[in-house]
């Protein structure tokens, strides 16, 4: 019994690093692309959130038209206004939260 509990705790302590889309109202295609982009950016600039955010923003501007905004960080609160079907809020790497939205 004790062993089992320990095992469970151990399991829970395990760090998950996969990208987890917390909330998104994008369509399927866009969401997949945006998610992959975020993953690429965060992996590329693992130690520089600002660069990662800039990369995400610039790429999205190019692909889906201007006025994208991106925030990459470990802890923050936000209240944003976004255009419908253009929002994604995801976690990545177990400690990173990325909010990406469009508002012209």
């Amino acid at each position: 019994m004790a062993e089992e509990g320990e095992k469970k705790a151990e399991e829970s302590r395990r760090v998950h690093t996969y990208p987890l889309v917390r909330y998104s109202d994008m369509n399927e295609e866009m969401r997949t692309e945006a998610m992959e982009l975020c993953v690429t950016a965060c992996e590329k600039f693992a130690s520089n959130n600002e660069s990662a955010a800039r990369m995400i923003k610039d790429s999205m501007d190019k692909k889906f038209g201007p006025a994208w905004h991106a925030v990459v960080g470990e802890g923050y609160g936000f209240e944003i206004t976004h255009e419908l079907k253009n929002l994604m809020y995801m976690f990545f790497g177990g400690n990173m939260a990325i909010i990406l939205w469009k508002c012209a």
Partner: protein, 669 residues
């Protein structure tokens, strides 16, 4: 005075005379004019008018003469003027002295007609008429204004206008203004893309919890999948396929029902009169006719694709009394065409309810009495096919092939039989190849079994090379007995009718030498068990008792009889159609020798009527011709008289009908 004379003598002749002449001339000019004017005035007045201040002189004084010599010399002129002459360097007297003395000068307002000024004024007055010559003159006098005319062709005017005196106060100004298009303003504002607020907080423990929850969820899912994976997968697949099917279905399918309803409503409106006739009209003239009746044409049915095809079969639906199936094909051996199977409803004469197309002409069709949507058809190519009115598939549900023993000649009639012991549907067919075949629908196959071969007397014929050729009759029509289900009659192209039983496949129960030409229809009486009727191309309709070899009744209709049908409401009423476009309706109970009604109903001249059938419930007939026209006809009251109930006759039901016919038969036989 004498002094100046010599001085002036030298030059005397010229200046003084000149001056004098000039002065005289001026005097004469002005004077004469004025005198003339005055004179005219005076003479016009008729009296000598005298100014008031004139001297009053007596006649003596007037007659007194004064002598005075007038000289041209001016008495006041100086005569001794000297001037210094630089040439001679001395003073010299000037010989020429002005002798002119002006006493009075007045500018007159009158001009001489020929003076320059007068000419100018005349020119001006003469106006437009004289303008051109003036212009010419102006041009002629180019020398006066050469600089202006050079290189400026538009401006000969200044020269001319210099001569022409323009009236400054008489001018008109002309101007035009172009139309300015009105300016308009239009604005439009688009809706901004919809926006929504979104707020959340992200920190390490929220992220961790989210991952945890998601992970657990995934694990549960994985367990489920392992548990009932296969079944669920299959289910999902099925569902997916269903949705695919749904999306594939045309959008029209959704409104199909509504459209159908609307079409019927439109038809109900446009054929309202016919519908009223169908329901309520009874020919009032029947009361005054003895026995004769009439047929009232009701709806006509047509279908574009069926034009020029012959109607080869008419079958009423056993369940829906407004629905009937029509088979289209061709009876012409030389002109074989495609075929068509159509279901029509009386509620919609404009278009068939269901349509099935076949490659070969359809010669016969039959609806299953218990499953009214099942339709079996016989085709010209010898195959039989089964359709369902509700099928989604385009082609037949079942079709016989060479492998399943199809007929080798056209199939002339098909007829459903009762389901066999295994509850499989089955039907019979007869064909020109001399076979009557039973077909059973087993799963996806048609299984055939020959019931009988229509051998002619004399058995097989010796062919060349010792081959034995079967000598078979061509079956054209057959009918099973209503009660004794094994008993059936087969009509042949040779004119013979065989009574057969399914129990004996090689022997006839009876042979009737019915007709001289092809038998087109054999049909049992629906009430009386031993009576049947045949019709043939030899112009006759015959009614038989199956126990006798001779016909009970013979009717000659003067034209090939395409089809005959017993009425469903009386054992003694039947109708026949002939190739000359007539429908004959008989009631043996009323007239045993002549038709009660003989009416031409063909929609076109020369159209041959091919088939006829009574509606099982309503008093109407359907008639088809060889041009694809279908007409519905209403029987007038005389044609559907039921026997009077005699003194509380026990049963007005089928038994009465049988008795009625029996009575007639005894009268004849």
């Amino acid at each position: 005075m004498p002094n100046p004379k010599p001085a002036a003598a030298a030059s005397k002749p010229k200046p003084p005379t000149q001056a004098a002449r000039a002065s005289r001339r001026r005097d004469s000019e002005t004077g004469s004019h004025s005198v003339m004017d005055f004179g005219e005035d005076m003479f016009g007045g008729g009296k000598a008018q005298k100014p008031d201040d004139q001297l009053q002189l007596t006649d003596q004084e007037l007659k007194e003469e004064f002598t005075r010599i007038l000289t041209a010399n001016n008495p006041h002129a100086p005569q001794n003027i000297v001037r210094y002459s630089f040439k001679d360097r001395q003073y010299k007297p000037i010989p020429q002295v002005d002798q002119l003395a002006v006493h009075f000068v007045m500018e007159g307002n009158l001009i001489h007609r020929e003076s320059d000024e007068a000419k100018k004024q005349l020119e001006k007055k003469s106006g437009d008429a004289a303008r051109e010559p003036i212009d010419e003159a102006a041009e002629a006098s180019e020398g006066e204004a050469p600089p202006k005319e050079e290189g400026d062709e538009d401006a000969p005017a200044p020269a001319a206008s210099g001569k022409k005196l323009t009236n400054q106060f008489n001018f008109c100004e002309r101007a035009t203004q172009t139309y300015n298009n009105p300016l308009r303003e239009r604005e439009n504002q688009t809706e901004p893309p919809p926006r929504v607020n979104f707020s959340q907080t992200a920190n390490q423990w929220i992220i961790f919890d989210a991952y945890q929850a998601d992970f657990e969820k995934n694990q549960e899912k994985g367990k489920e999948k392992k548990g009932g994976g296969a079944g669920k997968g299959a289910e999902e697949k099925a569902r997916k396929r269903l949705t695919v099917m749904d999306t594939q279905a045309d959008d029209l399918a959704k409104i199909e029902h509504a459209v159908k309803m609307l079409e019927r409503m439109v038809n109900q409106n446009s054929f309202d009169e016919i519908a009223q006739d169908f329901k309520y009209w009874e020919d009032p003239s029947d009361e005054f006719r003895d026995q004769q009746g009439t047929l009232l044409p009701l709806w006509k049915f047509g279908y574009e694709k069926a034009r020029k095809l012959a109607v080869t079969s008419i079958t009423w639906s056993p369940k829906y009394h407004d629905l009937f199936a029509i088979a289209y094909g061709s009876y012409d051996f030389m002109k074989q065409t495609r075929g068509l199977l159509c279901f029509y409803s009386l509620k919609n004469p404009s278009h068939p309810e269901y349509v099935f197309e076949t490659d070969s002409a359809v010669l016969t069709a039959a609806l299953h009495p218990e499953y009214p949507h099942m339709l079996c058809a016989g085709l010209y190519d010898g195959s039989v096919a089964v359709y369902s009115a509700v099928q989604k598939k385009r082609g037949p549900l079942y079709q016989s092939s060479a492998r399943t023993g199809k007929h080798t000649d056209p199939v002339w009639q098909v007829c459903w039989a009762k389901d066999d012991l295994d509850n499989n549907m089955n039907f019979y067919s007869t064909s020109s190849d001399g076979r009557v075949t039973s077909w059973t629908l087993i799963k996806n196959d048609l299984v055939s079994q020959d019931v009988i071969k229509l051998e002619l007397e004399g058995g097989p014929v010796e062919g060349p090379d010792g081959i034995k050729l079967e000598n078979l009759a061509s079956g054209t029509t057959f009918d099973f007995h209503r009660e004794a289900s094994h008993l059936f009659l087969v009509g042949t192209e040779e004119g013979k009718v065989f009574k057969c039983s399914t129990a004996y496949s090689s022997q006839y129960l009876q042979t009737y030498d019915a007709h001289h030409m092809a038998v087109y229809k054999v049909t049992w009486n629906p009430f009386h068990p031993s009576i049947f009727m045949t019709c043939s191309a030899d112009w006759t309709v015959k009614i038989w008792d199956h126990n006798k070899t001779e016909p009970v009744f013979v009717f000659d209709l003067n034209s090939p009889v395409g089809d005959a049908a017993w009425s469903p409401y009386s054992s003694t009423v039947f109708a026949a159609v002939t190739a000359d476009g007539k429908v004959h309706v008989f009631d043996l109970n009323i007239n045993k020798y002549e038709a009660l009604c003989e009416q031409v109903v063909a929609q076109k001249k020369k159209a041959k009527l091919t088939h006829i059938d009574f509606n099982p419930k309503h008093p109407i007939l359907i008639v088809g011709d060889d041009r694809g026209h279908i007409s519905s006809l209403k029987l007038s009251p005389n044609l559907r008289k039921l026997p009077k109930e005699k003194k509380g006759a026990a049963q007005p039901g089928p038994q009465a009908q049988v008795e009625k016919l029996d009575k007639i038969l005894t009268m004849v036989g």
